[in-house]
Every structure is written in structure tokens, then in C-alpha cells.
């Protein structure tokens, strides 16, 4: 921990502007004492670099699951004044709108366990996973341009979504203002075959159980649809695939070429390449980024469609009869214009969230009617061995622009995890503990071993103590497909 780090409260730590030359605002990290002591040095370096970006408001933030990223730390949040500030692809990430979706069923673990292997095997064959995987939805490149401009709305027209799915997705599953003319042909060529695919790395689709003893807030759990003891739910995590990665790469290069030469902006880390938000380059990226956001919403929507098909076939009932309804879909890697209070006055801000989750409290505009009183459902995925959480946004989250953690956060490099664990052995051990996993990559499985991650219980407790998100239920895995 840097000597300059000040404890503001039990869960808030601050690096003052004197910590590094060029910091415009202090940097604040939300964490318990245990988590802050375990945080890698990269977090302090990177969050203080973010604090030097032009137009940043109040604080550069990092969430309790924060760890070393590129540009921003993973778990980073920064609000820019849209008039004087910048937009930075390094504050959003290459996997634009990587996000989480949680889906209910009205089945119990007792009903699902006898068919668990069949269920996971069928999901594994219906949802393409792994390196370079292509999807089952065959599109022409021009059709794909409609997908990226319309997101989940395109899925609704094609029969891959219900109206309710769109209501239960952040921003209705479509960021308005996505213009495909700002996207390179290369990005389209790279991604148009990947709709409805999971990808690899930490992307997965999990079958989970809500045990009665793991419900922390019964009222909120009921409002979010967790009403049956040992109810089975489905959680999945993926993003905008190669399309989003190419959009980010294209604009990183563009910003590097104009940032200093045209706009006189000098930064500490080239991964923080940026452009003034209102510059032609800044606006073009904002629009292209929205296309990638929409691709990710559509991607998760098509995957949900395949999940519904698999459940329907296996359990011999319609998706409606099986209660396959969405709790919510949250985005991790985005930038968005939102209204927040700065010095007591409401102001429009460009909120960068990188590996962090929007967590609107009760009464926030933009939430579906059913969540007006509860606050937004927040889905935080843990490692595949330990479990995940459903939480709710809190009114006290205003300080961090209503943002919370996104996962448990890595503590061990992928390289180290692969040296310590063997994928095939891990698969057998997990099955002995009641978690059936399918994967194309044992190497990839080893990298995702539980001990490579922080303690998820500690992370979500810290978010609750910091007033960012309230625990509703802990979700325990019984089946998993991963790339």
C-alpha cells in the first residue's frame, strides 16, 4: 500500500492529489482493510493515472474487486465533464459491454439435478464457446449493421426476444445514437459471424441454485423473482466479441495519432489514449462504442434464446411455463451520459465504467416499474468454484455515481494459475463437489480456478458496507459451460 493512502472510513481509502504530479482530483478506492492490503500495486498506479485525465470530476474511483488492468484499473470509474473532458477507450476496455445476465426458472434443484448432465451438455452444444467461435445465426454484413444499431430491438423483431426482456435490460438493450458508419469494415468482418457466442477467458454460462439459507433479504429476493426454495437460475457473462475488440483497437490507434498532435493532450500511459468528448474523433468513437454495446446486448439476447430452446426441449414445456424470465442484464464496460450531482447541483456527466457495474438506487429514472422501489438488480459473478451474488442498488451509492463491483477480481496471474492448477483435475474435483463443467479448453479452465480470485463474500460485503449495493442472495453453481 502506498504510504500516502489515507483511510477515510472503514471502506473508503484515498490517494490525495499530491500523490502524483498532474492529478486533478484525488483517487478513491472502496475496499475493506483486508482487500486494500491485498490489492496489487497496479491499482494505485492506474487509478492515480486516471485522476490526471482532462475534465475528470470529483474523484477517480476503484471498486472493491479492483485489480491491475490496462489504462484504467479493472473496477475503475471516472466521470468526465462532457464540455471540457475526454473520452478514453482505456476507460471502457476492449470487450465493450462485457456484461452479466440473470434468468429465472420455476424449477427447483431437485427437479433439475437428475437431468443436469444432459442440460449442461445440450447448452454446451447450443451455445458456441471458445477461441474464434462462430454463431448459429447466419447474417449478411449489412444485417449485422442493423444488429449493432438496434441491439436487443433487432432481436425482438427476429423473434429472439420478448418485450419484457428489453425492459429488463440496461437502457432497454439499445444505446441510442449508434451509427454503423463510424465502425470499420474490418470490425464488421471480424464480428458478424459471432452473434450468439460466449467466447472464452472468464466468460461462462452457469446453472445456479438459490438455497434458502443463502437469501439475505427475503423482501428484495421476492421482488426480483426468487420465490421458491432451491430455485434454479441461469447466469451468464459475455460481451461484444471480436467486433467490440476491433472497435476498441481501431479507436485506440486513432486517438494515439491525434491526442498530442491535434489536441495537445499528454498522458502517463498510452493505454489511456483519449480525445476531447466533443471532438470529431471523440464523437465518432462514442457512436462506434454504442454499436459495440448494442452488439453485446444482442449477443446475450440470442444466447438467452438458445437457453430457452434447450430448457424447453429437455423439460418438455414452453419457456413461459418454465418461468424463464430475466431478472436483469447489466453492462460492465461502457461510457454513458448520465445526470449526477456535483457540488449539490445536477450535472450531465460522461461516466466511464471499466469492469464495474451501474447500480441505480430506488427511484432512479430509467429503471423498469417493477424495480422502482427496490433499486436496480446488480449481478456480481464470482469464480466458477465459489458462487455469485444478486444485489440491489442503494440510494447511498450517489458518491460513486451509482456504481458497484462487477466480479470477485483476480489475485493471481493467468500464467501463475496455469502453473498451479491442471484443468482436467480441476474438472474432476469440481464434479465431485457437485459442479458439472464442460469446456473446450483445460488450459482456460485452470486459469479460472477459484484460488486465482479474491474472496467474493468479502468483495460484496465491502460494497454493502460502502453503501454501493445491498446483498439479496448468494447463488451457488451446479453446472457451468465455459470457453
Amino acid at each position: 500500500m502506498p504510504a500516502a493512502l489515507k483511510r477515510i472510513s472503514d471502506t473508503v481509502w484515498e490517494l490525495p492529489v499530491s500523490y502524483k504530479e498532474g492529478m486533478l482530483v484525488p483517487a478513491r478506492i472502496f475496499a475493506s482493510e483486508k482487500l486494500i492490503r491485498e490489492m496489487d500495486a497496479g491499482v494505485f498506479e492506474q487509478v492515480s493515472n486516471v485522476a490526471t485525465l482532462p475534465g475528470i470530476q470529483r474523484y477517480a474511483y476503484c471498486m472493491p474487486d479492483g485489480h491491475w488492468g490496462y489504462g484504467f484499473p479493472i473496477g475503475g470509474v471516472a466521470a468526465m465533464d462532457p464540455g471540457t473532458g475526454v473520452i478514453s477507450p482505456g476507460g471502457i476496455g476492449f470487450d465493450i459491454n462485457c456484461g452479466m445476465r440473470l434468468v429465472l426458472t420455476n424449477l427447483t434443484a431437485e427437479q433439475v439435478l437428475p437431468k443436469l448432465h444432459q442440460l449442461v451438455d445440450r447448452l454446451f452444444s447450443r451455445i458456441p464457446t471458445g477461441v474464434g467461435c462462430h454463431g448459429f445465426v447466419k447474417l449478411k454484413e449489412d444485417d449485422f449493421r442493423s444488429v449493432i444499431e438496434q441491439g436487443s430491438r433487432w432481436c425482438l423483431k427476429q423473434g429472439f426476444a420478448t418485450k419484457e426482456d428489453l425492459e429488463m435490460t440496461e437502457e432497454g438493450g439499445c444505446f441510442p445514437g449508434a451509427d454503423a458508419s463510424h465502425v470499420s469494415d474490418k470490425a464488421v468482418e471480424r464480428g458478424f459471424n459471432q452473434l450468439g457466442t460466449l467466447g472464452s477467458g472468464n466468460h461462462y454460462c452457469e446453472i445456479q441454485v438459490v438455497k434458502p439459507e443463502n437469501v439475505m433479504d427475503a423482501e428484495l429476493a421476492e421482488a426480483f423473482g426468487l420465490t421458491i426454495p432451491n430455485q434454479v437460475v441461469i447466469m451468464f457473462h459475455c460481451g461484444s466479441r471480436g467486433f467490440g475488440h476491433q472497435v476498441a483497437t481501431d479507436y485506440l490507434k486513432l486517438f494515439l495519432s491525434v491526442m498530442d498532435r491535434k489536441y495537445g493532450i499528454r498522458i502517463r500511459d498510452r493505454e489511456l489514449a483519449c480525445a476531447p468528448f466533443h471532438s470529431p474523433e471523440g464523437q465518432a468513437y462514442y457512436s462506434a462504442m454504442k454499436c459495440a454495446v448494442n452488439m453485446a446486448f444482442a449477443n446475450r439476447q440470442v444466447i438467452l434464446h438458445h437457453i430457452r430452446e434447450v430448457f424447453s426441449e429437455l423439460f418438455g414445456a414452453s419457456p413461459d411455463e418454465l418461468g424463464l424470465r430475466m431478472v436483469y442484464d447489466v453492462a460492465h464496460n461502457t461510457a454513458k451520459l448520465e445526470k449526477h450531482k456535483v457540488n449539490g447541483k445536477e450535472k450531465e456527466l460522461l461516466i466511464h465504467r471499466k469492469g464495474s457495474t451501474r447500480a441505480f438506487g430506488p427511484g432512479a429514472p430509467g429503471l423498469p416499474e417493477c424495480y422502482e422501489k427496490t433499486g436496480q438488480p446488480v449481478i456480481i459473478g464470482g469464480s466458477m468454484e465459489t458462487g455469485s451474488y444478486l444485489l440491489a442498488g442503494m440510494s447511498s451509492g450517489a458518491d460513486a455515481f451509482f456504481t458497484t463491483a462487477h466480479g470477485s477480481g483476480r489475485t493471481m496471474s493467468r500464467h501463475e494459475a496455469k502453473k498451479r492448477f491442471r484443468g482436467d483435475k480441476l474438472q474432476r474435483e469440481m464434479e465431485a463437489r457437485g459442479i458439472y463443467v464442460r469446456t473446450d479448453s483445460f488450459g482456460g479452465l485452470a486459469e479460472e480456478a477459484g484460488p486465482a480470485y479474491k474472496d467474493i463474500d468479502e468483495v460484496v460485503e465491502a460494497t454493502e458496507l460502502a453503501g454501493l449495493s445491498k446483498r439479496v442472495a448468494r447463488l451457488v453453481p451446479i453446472g457451468n459451460i465455459k470457453g
Binding site: D40, G42, H67, W68, G69, Y70, G71, I74, G90, G93, F94, D95, G130, V131, G132, C133, H134, K186, E189, R190, G191, N193, Q194, G199, S200, G201, N202, R241, G242, H245, Q246, A248, T249, L252, K253, L256, D269, R270, E271, A273, R410, T411, M412, S413, R414, H415, E416, D440, S441, F442, G443, G444, E447, G483
Partner: protein
């Protein structure tokens, strides 16, 4: 040592150093380091398909950045695992040019032992420099 993965730069991503007596050798090693993140047994990738690649950039460092990104592009767009079989790097006016013949084949799960997808080459700690024995690159890949 042609390339070496590093666990001390990035936790969620993959970092490596690559070395070469010449720029061409360095590009070749960096390509192998990048593709091996995705396919464990690169020796099993057959040279069944050929892609000709020509890229220009203002300096050697950005040329390597573009070169590695092209390999990542073909992995998604055409599901191809490609490696350079022939390559020349030359000065081109103010900048640099690479011409490479890439060879490889479509991903075949089972025969190819798949690892983790590479999303992009990042600018974190990214460098290409001349050292006493040739060239050295430091690259962090987003996975």
C-alpha cells in the same frame, strides 16, 4: 530465449517478452507467443491455408502492433490460426513495411488444444527496442 510469458505485469491478461537477432525474428517470436496463448500445441497447426499480408507504419513498434492485431483478426473473422512462414521488413520512405506470408489452418477443437482467446494487443507497458543482442518486445495481450 525466443519468448517468455510474464506473470508480474498483468493479472487478468497475458504478458510476454520476445527477442530476436533481427526484426523479422522478433516478429516471428511475438507471433508465436501470441498464438500459443490460444493454441497450446502450435506444432500441430498444418500449413493448409495461405494469407499474404502487407502492412505499413511510421515506426517498427506500431508495425509490430498492427502485425499481431492482424493475426488476432483472422482468428475471429475466418477462424484461422496463422503463423508467418516468410517475412521481410524494410524501410519504406519515412516509415516501415512488412510483407509476410502467413500459413495455418482453421481451428479444429480436439486436434488443436485450445487455450484462451486473445481479444487485443494493449498499449500497457508496450515496447519494442533495440538491445545489445538484437531486438526485444514487451507485449500485454487482453484475454
Amino acid at each position: 530465449m525466443p519468448f517468455e510469458y510474464r506473470g508480474d505485469i498483468a493479472h487478468a491478461d497475458i504478458a510476454f517478452n520476445a527477442w530476436g537477432d533481427t526484426l523479422e525474428e522478433l516478429f516471428r517470436e511475438a507471433a508465436r507467443a501470441t498464438m500459443q496463448v490460444m493454441v497450446e500445441n502450435l506444432a500441430e497447426v498444418r500449413p493448409a491455408q495461405t494469407v499474404e499480408l502487407e502492412l505499413e507504419q511510421e515506426n517498427e513498434e506500431m508495425l509490430l502492433f498492427d502485425f499481431l492485431n492482424e493475426l488476432i483478426f483472422y482468428k475471429d473473422a475466418r477462424r484461422l490460426i496463422l503463423l508467418p512462414s516468410q517475412m521481410t521488413i524494410s524501410r519504406d520512405g519515412e516509415g516501415f513495411k512488412v510483407h509476410a506470408t502467413l500459413k495455418g489452418e482453421e481451428i479444429e477443437v480436439g486436434r488443436h488444444r485450445m487455450n484462451t482467446d486473445v481479444k487485443a494487443v494493449t498499449m500497457l507497458r508496450y515496447s519494442l527496442e533495440q538491445v545489445a543482442c538484437g531486438w526485444r518486445a514487451t507485449v500485454v495481450l487482453d484475454v
